[in-house]
Symmetry: C2
Subunit: 360 residues, 2 copies
């Protein structure tokens, strides 16, 4: 009988964690048992896995004894602290936070794009940022066929990317405007645009051009993630990427307006065919029938939807497109579980001999 | 005593028309009397102008006898039919619809940018599309200082741009999702994305990459308006402009993520100074204090707010910015009344001798 895995989910009670559990329930991964971990505040809660009650436990340095695969989605500081202990205990970690993404010892993986990078793993594999993942699924088929020189992207991101509290804040704000007739600028915000920043602004009936905090170059961290992660995943530091990341009052699914310049001139029919044939990508593109991707339709689905593909009006190698995907599924939970499935398929679920990560 | 004008507002009961009345009340224009015109359906309604009751009348070919200035905002077909009669009656028309914008006999004017174009008017002046106007206010100071080669813009447009019925539809849809717990994809839409198109989609918790109907090149009319109107207003057909126009669940104020390439390398501090010194533009740009333009703050204001100004990470002459303005004020009612004020200041409110427009 082939190996069955003990799988741990760290951050099991969060917006992404709960979807990781669902993705594992529906996964082809042979699972012997599941361990649900969170902070001490959530310990004792009872969640379901395939109809069985599982009690949430507090994450500790010892939580990973006997665990084969650990999926982390509880914030960067939790991953920084506990992922190395999980590796030391013999587990393979799939980390959904930004903490290890740019570490040269850590593969950053979108399975449809660069599964081969898993082969050299050292115990931790990073799942890219949600806004990067869907862009990679849409652009990799174009890159393979025509080369990719530059990307300019403007995002329309859902509030669920900022967690369950941001969803609740958005719903409360909208109710105050719609039901209590408050002026949108007068509702009180406590989380968005970024829980870790000083000021908070309403998202109801607004568009906030800030996701995560600002870096020294006046781009936000979210924007720099799209730049740096793209170069790492596509293994090409020469690709020019500049992003403007914007939060809008949508609960689920990120939309992206993407402009690219290819190396070779790319006929639009061939671009559409390449995307339609790429795993994980779905072409939704028929202006004559008003067919294009929409957030409300992408919510709950694992695919990345691509449409509005058209030539730039001037640049010979310029192409515009509209890319939509569920930020909690392909953008987080599904991409993480898909990495675990790919590790299994490639025989890469094994303990690491040399520990390359600091035990804090 | 200097001349006082009889001013007509065509489409007085609409979302833009009602704001035109407010802008006229607050205007420096010497107004003798006001005439409020609409369809026969709205005739008989009583509206206020500076505390006086004014009864709305049906628009007819004879409505413009004695009128000096006629502001039109009742749809392209109403302008096509009645604006030439207004000119024939001796009025100067400021038309807020797209009908006459690309007509070579019609100046297309953003007063801060190209007021000089008014001098050659033939009785009709067109007010540009809302999404174009705010982009012109933000970019003209940069063009003047450094030249402008190309624009790539992705918009985040408010539903009020589609009229009062679209606002009501949006509010109903949001209530169905928030209060009645409907899935956003299951709410019934009847207007958006475009009242004149075949299919209608929910805007609540969604982003719709279609504004107006599609043209033959797979861009929408809204997108092509941004391209064609920019070239006409800036009097430079060589400027490359490609747009992606997107509707989001915001009631008031359009936001735009704009990428430009200048002719000369433009130091960011000088770009910011040029925008800050330009009439009608307000610089809101301090990442260290999380200061950037927001739709909820721009609503109700006449200015165009500009922030998030930063160098492209790769292109030497590339600059990104975030531009927000009230689409019903600077994007429509205020820009129209501002054109009327400028006509007055330049002594251009006069009857036209040669009628250049067809009487339908």
């Amino acid at each position: 009988m082939s190996k069955e895995y003990v799988v741990a989910v760290v951050g099991a009670t969060g917006a992404v964690g709960s979807r990781m559990i669902t993705m594992l329930e529906e996964s082809s991964l042979p699972i012997k048992s599941i361990k649900l971990l969170a902070t001490i505040r959530s310990a004792g809660k009872v969640l379901q896995f395939k109809g069985q009650d599982i009690t949430v436990e507090e994450t500790t340095e010892q939580s990973f004894d006997g665990v084969d695969i650990a999926l982390f989605s509880a914030g960067g500081s939790v991953s920084a602290k506990f992922a190395p202990y999980a590796v030391k205990s013999g587990a393979v970690v799939v980390d959904n936070t930004s903490h290890f993404r740019m570490n040269t010892d850590v593969p950053l993986v979108v399975p449809e794009v660069n599964a081969h990078a898993l082969d050299a793993h050292n115990g931790i594999i990073a799942c890219p940022n949600c806004s990067t993942i869907q862009m990679m699924v849409a652009l990799e088929p174009v890159r393979q066929a025509f080369g990719l020189k530059r990307i300019i992207v403007s995002t329309y991101q859902a509030v669920s990317g900022a967690g369950a509290k941001a969803i609740a804040e958005t719903e409360r704000e909208i109710q105050e405007v719609v039901n209590d007739k408050k002026d949108p600028k007068d509702v009180i915000a406590e989380i968005l645009p970024s829980g870790g920043d000083k000021k908070h602004y309403p998202i109801a009936f607004n568009a906030l051009p800030q996701i995560d905090v600002f870096t020294e170059n006046d781009y936000t961290y979210e924007e720099m993630k799209m730049t740096n992660e793209t170069k790492k995943i596509m293994e090409d530091p020469a690709i020019a990427v500049s992003a403007t990341c914007v939060r809008i009052p949508v609960i689920l699914a990120h939309s992206e307006s993407i402009y690219i310049e290819t190396e070779k001139v790319a006929p639009i029919a061939e671009v559409k065919a390449a995307i339609a044939n790429f795993p994980g990508a779905v072409l939704e593109d028929d202006p004559s029938q008003q067919v294009y991707p929409q957030a409300v339709n992408a919510a709950g689905k694992r695919e990345t939807f691509v449409g509005r593909i058209r030539k730039d009006l001037d640049a010979e190698t310029g192409i515009h497109m509209w890319v939509v995907s569920d930020n909690l599924l392909k953008g987080a939970a599904w991409n993480s579980v898909q990495i675990a499935e790919t590790l299994h398929e490639r025989g890469l679920v094994h303990a690491t001999t040399e520990l390359k990560f600091d035990l804090l």
